[in-house]
């Protein structure tokens, strides 16, 4: 198996051209082809030293938050051991993909389910988990069930369906859904690594993160670091969209890739794009410049990939109208349990829609600023803060459009009727 050099193109789902690390076993790989390609992974043999290996690899979560995977695993393991009555943890593979512009996790589950299961079982063994879950959207479950039936450790894993809501993949919503059937976030007074599912220390890891774990367990930390940069090692899957129906692609790109290179690999000419949404609906609009796609670094040079969503604003589309549509959707996806989110998001969507529609009231941007400042930091989950980040980037990147709109013009729509 060769390390990836540069980004490699995958066809969009359902079929993938296997040239990458994660999808090297080809489309819809069954267990025999998976084992031929990668070799068999025995969780009992892989578990000792696995957390040290993950630390050396520098793997971070591919579900959006980019937290160090080994830290989460070690915290869960230690929390389980330091209890007066030791309790064994729970490990959950998170395949919920509520982000409308993301499709890399379902692509991975369709084509490389056994890597995800290998990673899940190895981590579960490493933290001495009592219960192991795979949480995935209903559409991915038949394929996952077939893979579980074939996989040597498949019988250990319980499958739970995730609803198709935006926040269904938020870690505490995952735990809540498995426990109660309600996929809404929990208050974060205590960490899931201390008390999660039924009070057990709980580790929730994105399915792509687990697939990387499965490869690191086989090929080692140095192999993982052969792709990417020292600050952002390895590869990540990205969902690239925006060129119209049927043109969406999943790419595997090295850490620290340039946004412009990724766009070109997806068949787009960055010079023809006015703006790109990176990181999804909780991400940022940026101009299609040579930003580095990485979880950390100075704003302006680096843009966070989040869960790997890259979406180009279509030709002739108004960025403010696109953003107003997204924020309206996000307001509707509030779990309606935290007041500042329940009331603040619809209020922000309202003001943004008025700007997008060309209402000539110069106070509107100030209203939006004030509301954004009011809701941040005030919720059980990141939904209000993520929404505010998106709006902030739109007001910055589309600042010229804001001025035009307030003057009664839109570069995409033309001039509104008086």
């Amino acid at each position: 198996m060769n390390p990836v050099s540069g980004e490699l193109r995958q066809a969009s789902p359902p079929h993938a051209q296997p040239v990458s690390r994660l999808l090297a076993a080809g489309p819809e790989a069954e267990y025999a082809r998976h084992a031929d390609t990668f070799g068999h992974l025995d969780p009992d043999a892989a578990a000792p030293g696995l957390l040290n290996l993950l630390e050396a690899s520098g793997l971070t979560g591919r579900g959006g938050a980019a937290f160090a995977t080994w830290r989460k695993a070690v915290a869960t393991s230690q929390s389980a051991q330091k209890r007066l009555v030791p309790v064994r943890p729970v490990v959950i593979a998170n395949g919920a993909e509520g982000e409308p512009l993301s499709f890399k996790d379902r692509t991975l589950l369709a084509h490389a389910p056994h890597l995800v299961l290998d990673g899940l079982l190895a981590v579960a063994r490493a933290v001495a988990a009592a219960q192991v879950y795979l949480y995935a959207p209903a559409a991915s479950i038949p394929g996952a069930q077939r893979a579980l039936a074939e996989h040597p450790g498949g019988r250990r894993i319980q499958v739970v369906a995730s609803p198709d809501t935006f926040i269904s993949g938020e870690a505490s919503a995952v735990v809540n859904n498995i426990a109660t059937g309600s996929a809404i976030p929990l208050d974060k007074r205590r960490r899931l690594s201390d008390t999660g599912l039924k009070g057990r220390p709980t580790l929730v890891l994105n399915v792509e993160t687990l697939a990387h774990v499965a490869l690191i367990a086989r090929f080692g930390a140095d192999w993982f670091r052969a792709a990417g940069t020292p600050q952002d090692p390895g590869t990540r899957l990205v969902s690239v969209s925006g060129r119209g129906p049927g043109r969406d692609v999943v790419l595997e790109v090295p850490g620290g890739a340039l946004l412009t290179d990724v766009l070109q690999s997806a068949g787009m000419d960055p010079a023809t794009l006015s703006a790109v949404l990176v990181g999804g609906y909780h991400g940022r609009w940026v101009r299609p410049a040579a930003h580095v796609l990485a979880p950390n670094g100075p704003v302006g040079q680096v843009v966070r990939p989040g869960a790997g969503v890259i979406h180009a604003l279509a030709d002739g589309q108004c960025g403010l109208q696109a953003t107003a549509g997204i924020v309206t959707y996000l307001a509707g996806q509030s779990a309606r349990q935290c007041g500042p989110c329940m009331f603040g998001l619809p209020a922000m969507a309202g003001v943004l829609n008025r700007i997008a529609a060309g209402e000539q009231d110069p106070r509107l941007p100030g209203d939006l600023d004030r509301l954004a400042n009011l809701v941040t930091g005030r919720g059980a989950c990141h939904h209000p803060d993520g929404t505010v980040q998106l709006i902030g980037s739109a007001l910055e990147v589309f600042s010229g459009d804001v001025r035009s709109h307030l003057a009664g013009r839109c570069s995409a729509v033309g001039i509104w009727a008086p």
Partner: protein, 83 residues
Amino acid sequence: MTATLHIDWTRCDGRGLCAELLSGVLVRDDWGYPVARGRQGPERTDVPVRPDDLEAAREAVSLCPRLALSLRDAASGDSQRRR
């Protein structure tokens, strides 16, 4: 170390008692929910409380009709919460 007042937003209903008891620490937003004065980010959910405000904070915890508040004494790690 300062103590912190944790607001459980999933419980808070914006009744406003806490903002009355802790008027130097909390104000109410457009919809009546508490906002920590002069705080940003995570300090709006885990609000630092100065020693002078501790007594009022304890009272707010015990009187919150939605049981949405808890006080954590950062020095000891203990927390007080009415159940």
